[in-house]
Symmetry: C3
Subunit: 317 residues, 3 copies
C-alpha cells in the first residue's frame, strides 16, 4: 500500500482543470486524497506551499460556504485570493464574452475557481484558458466536483478506502446533484452497493438508475427498515426551491428525519454524512453521536481543496 501511495503521489496534475469528477482517473483522485491525508497529518508543513500564488474566486452566484472552503484552503497554503461574490455581475461582463473574461483573469491569477448558475459555464471558461488550473465550484444543477471529492476523502479517511461499502443515500434523490455525483464516482471503485431511500416522488430518476450496474442497488421508502444495514448513511436536504407546491414540500420534508431513536438500530461503526447546510433532516441530538461526521466532513472539504489546489498549481512535493 505504501508503494502505491508513493506512486500516486508522483502523479502530476499541474495545469489540469476539474470541471466534473470524470475528468480525473481513479488513480488521479487517489493521488489527491493521499496528499490530503498528508496535509491532515501535518497542516503546518503546507503553510507556504502556494506562497506567491494567486487564486481568482469568481462566484457569479453567492455560495458563502463553498467560497469560504476554497478561500480558506488557498490561504492555509499561503496563497492569496481576490474575486467577487455577487449576483450583480453587470460590471464583470460589460458585454464581453466569457472567453475574454477568462483570458483577462488568466493575466492576473494562477488558478481560477468559478461558480455559475448556468450549466456548462465552467467548462466553457476552462476551455478558453487551456493550461490554466480551473476548478468548477458548481454550475447550476449540473456538477459540483469538489463536494464529491470531499465526500470521498471523508469515506476514505474514516473507513480506510472508498471500496466495499454499503451506502445508504436518503432524501431528495430526484434533484440531488450532490448525491448523483457521489454515487457515480463511488461506482468507479469496486464492490460498493447502494440503498436508495426516498419517498416515491423523489426517487432516483430512471435515466440515472439505468446507468448503474445491475444488482448494485436497491430502493426503499423506509429509512427504519435499512438503517441497520449501511456502512455509510448519506443524508441530504429536501430543498424548498425544488417544489412548485408549498404543501407538498411540508409533507415530504419531515418524512426522513434522522434522530437518536433511529440511530439505535444503526451499526456501531457506520458513519452519518451530510453535505450541509441541514435544515431539520438530522435532529441536533444526533450531533454528539461519534458516528455523526458531517462537521468533520466540512473540515475534510477544506483539506481536500488544499490538496487539489496544490496539485493543480504543481507546488506539492
Amino acid at each position: 500500500m505504501s508503494d502505491r501511495q508513493g506512486e500516486a503521489a508522483r502523479i502530476d496534475l499541474t495545469g489540469r482543470q476539474l470541471i466534473e469528477p470524470g475528468d480525473f482517473t481513479v488513480a488521479e483522485l487517489e493521488s489527491i486524497f493521499e496528499l490530503a491525508d498528508q496535509i491532515i497529518a501535518d497542516p503546518g508543513a503546507a503553510m507556504d506551499l502556494a506562497k506567491g500564488k494567486l487564486m481568482a474566486s469568481l462566484f457569479y452566484e453567492p455560495s458563502t460556504r463553498t467560497r469560504f472552503s476554497f478561500e480558506s484552503a488557498m490561504m492555509r497554503l499561503g496563497g492569496r485570493v481576490f474575486g467577487f461574490d455577487d449576483p450583480n455581475t453587470s460590471s464583470v461582463s460589460k458585454g464581453e464574452t466569457l472567453m475574454d473574461t477568462a483570458k483577462i483573469i488568466s493575466c492576473y491569477a494562477d488558478l481560477a475557481v468559478i461558480r455559475h448558475p448556468r450549466e456548462g459555464t465552467a467548462r466553457l471558461f476552462a476551455q478558453s484558458v487551456p493550461g490554466m488550473p480551473v476548478i468548477n465550484a458548481g454550475d447550476g444543477g449540473h456538477e459540483h466536483p469538489t463536494q464529491t471529492l470531499t465526500d470521498l476523502l471523508t469515506i476514505r479517511h474514516l473507513l480506510g478506502s472508498c471500496s466495499g461499502h454499503t451506502v445508504g443515500v436518503c432524501g431528495d434523490l430526484l434533484f440531488g446533484r450532490t448525491i448523483h455525483s457521489l454515487v457515480k464516482t463511488l461506482n468507479r471503485y469496486p464492490d460498493n452497493r447502494f440503498i436508495f431511500i426516498s419517498p416515491k416522488e423523489l426517487r432516483m430518476p430512471e435515466y440515472f438508475l439505468s446507468m448503474l450496474p445491475e444488482g448494485s442497488y436497491v430502493e426503499t421508502d423506509s429509512l427504519d427498515d435499512v438503517i441497520g444495514d449501511v456502512d455509510i448513511l448519506y443524508m441530504s436536504r429536501v430543498q424548498r426551491e425544488r417544489f412548485v407546491n408549498e404543501e407538498e414540500y411540508i409533507r415530504l420534508k419531515d418524512v426522513y428525519i434522522l434522530d437518536r431513536h433511529k440511530m439505535k438500530r444503526a451499526k456501531d461503526d457506520m458513519i452519518v454524512m451530510h453535505p450541509l447546510p441541514r435544515v431539520n433532516e438530522i435532529a441536533t441530538e444526533v450531533d454528539d453521536d461519534p458516528r455523526a461526521v458531517y462537521f468533520k466532513q466540512a473540515k475534510f472539504g477544506m483539506y481536500v481543496r488544499m490538496a487539489l489546489i496544490s496539485k493543480l498549481l504543481g507546488v506539492a512535493k
Copy 2:
C-alpha cells in the same frame, strides 16, 4: 509598575471570547493594553505574529469602518481574512441555524469576528464553538466591546492610566451604546467621575444611572459650563435613525457642537475623543488642536485589535 506589567503580559487569553467588556477582568484588559503599547512602540515586530492564521470576518450588516479596523489589524499581524459584508445573508443561512453556521466557520477559521443587527447573536454564536476565539463587533444596540477597548487604550496611552479622570460625555446619552459601555467600564477603574452633558430628551436612562456609584456623576445640559472641568471630553453623534421625528432631530443635533470658541475654555492637557464618524458635532476647525485626538483614537482602534487578536490566538509572546 514594570513588575505589574510583566505580570499582566503573562495573562493567558488563548481561546477566550469577547462578547462584552465584562467578560474580561480589569487585569485581563490591562494585559491587552500593555501588549498594544508594545505593538505601538514597535509595529514591525508584530508583522508575522499571526502568520498562517485565518480570521472569518462575518458582517451580517455592513459596518465598513469597524470591518476595516479588524481586517487591517489581522493583516498587520501577518494573518489572512475571509468573510462577507452584506446585508443579503440569505446564502449564508439557507435555513440552517446560527449554531450550525458557527460550527462550519470553526472548520475553516482560527478566529471569528461577528457583527449582527440582532442583540445576543454574538453570544449565541460564541457558545456554539467553545474554545474558539470569537469577537463581538457589535450586536444591535447592545454591545460593541472593541470600541470600548479602543477608548480605554486611547485614554491609558495618552493620559497614563484609566483611573482618576473627570470625564465629560456629551451628546446622545439615551441611546448611545458606545457611551454606556465606556462609562460602565471606566467605573471598574478607581476614582473616575463623570459629567453627563445632553439635552433633557437625550439624558442618560434612569436604569443606567441607578447602577452608578452615588456621587460619581453630575448631569448638565450646558457644555460651556463644564468644559473647563474635564480631563476627557467624549463627544458623540446624534444619530438621525434614532428619531421618529425629523424636526426633533434637526433641533437637537446642533445644540452641542464643539468649536474653537468652546475649546478656549478647556484645560490645556485635556483630550477630545469621538468614536467617529462625526457629522458636525465637532467643527473641523478643532481638528488641528493638539487636544483633538479622535483620529489618533481610530489608529489606537487598530492597535488594540492587533493586541486582542494576538492574545486570543495565543500567539503573543
Copy 3:
C-alpha cells in the same frame, strides 16, 4: 541607455499621489516603466517587496477588471488588500465628509486606491492625506491614469520606446477618456503623430484638437484607408451608455470593426491595442494574429501597477 536607466531608477516617488498622468514628469513615468521592465524580467524577485504593507481598495462604483488589476498587483508584491466594491456606500459615509473618511483610511492602510463616479473626488481624497500614496482608479469621465501607464508600458516594452510612432486611434473619440489621456501623454514624448479614425458624430472634440501641436494629427472616417500607415492601432469600444438613442448606437457601433481582412493591409510589425473589455469592435479571428497584443496589454497593466505601487510605497530598490 543603461546609464539613463540607472538614473531613472533612482528617482524617488515615495509618498507621491497619482491622480492624473500630468502629476508625474516624463522622467518619473520612465522610472516606473523601467522598474516594470525589471519586474517583467524577474517577477519572483518582487514577491516580498510590499510585505507587511496594506492597500485600501475603495471602489465607490464597481469596476471588477480595474480592481482585480490593482489587487493582484499588490498581492504579487506580497502586500495585503482590504476594501469594498459596492455601489451601496451608505455605510461608508454615514454622513461624514470624504476628508474624514480619507483620514480614517490613512490610519489603517499604507496606500489607497480610489474609484469614484464623481469627477474630482480622487483629488479631494488625496489632498486630505498629504504624504499618503493615493492612486486614482478612475473618477467619472475624467481621468484613469493607470490605464494610460498601462498603454505606455505596452508601447515602450514592445516597440522599444514611446517616441517616434504613427498612432491610429479608432472608435469613440468624442467621449473616450482613455484615448484622450493616451494622446495627451504620448504628446509629451517627441515625434509622435496621430491619425484619428471615427465617424463624424464621434470625432475628437474641438477643445481637445486645439491643444495639440499643429500638424501632429490628421482625421479620417476610414479605417481601411489608413491602417497600412500606423505603427500602433488603438481600438476602443463604443459604449452603449454614451448614446441617448438606441438606433444611433446600433448604426455606429459596427462601423469600425477590425477583422482579418483589414489586418492584411497593416504593417507586419504594427501592434493592435485595446483597453478591454471589447464587445465586437475586434473580431475574435484577429486574436491569434501576433500583432494583436490586447491581452498582453492587460498583463502589462498588472506589471505597471506593481511598479507604481512599489515606487509610491518606497519599497523598490
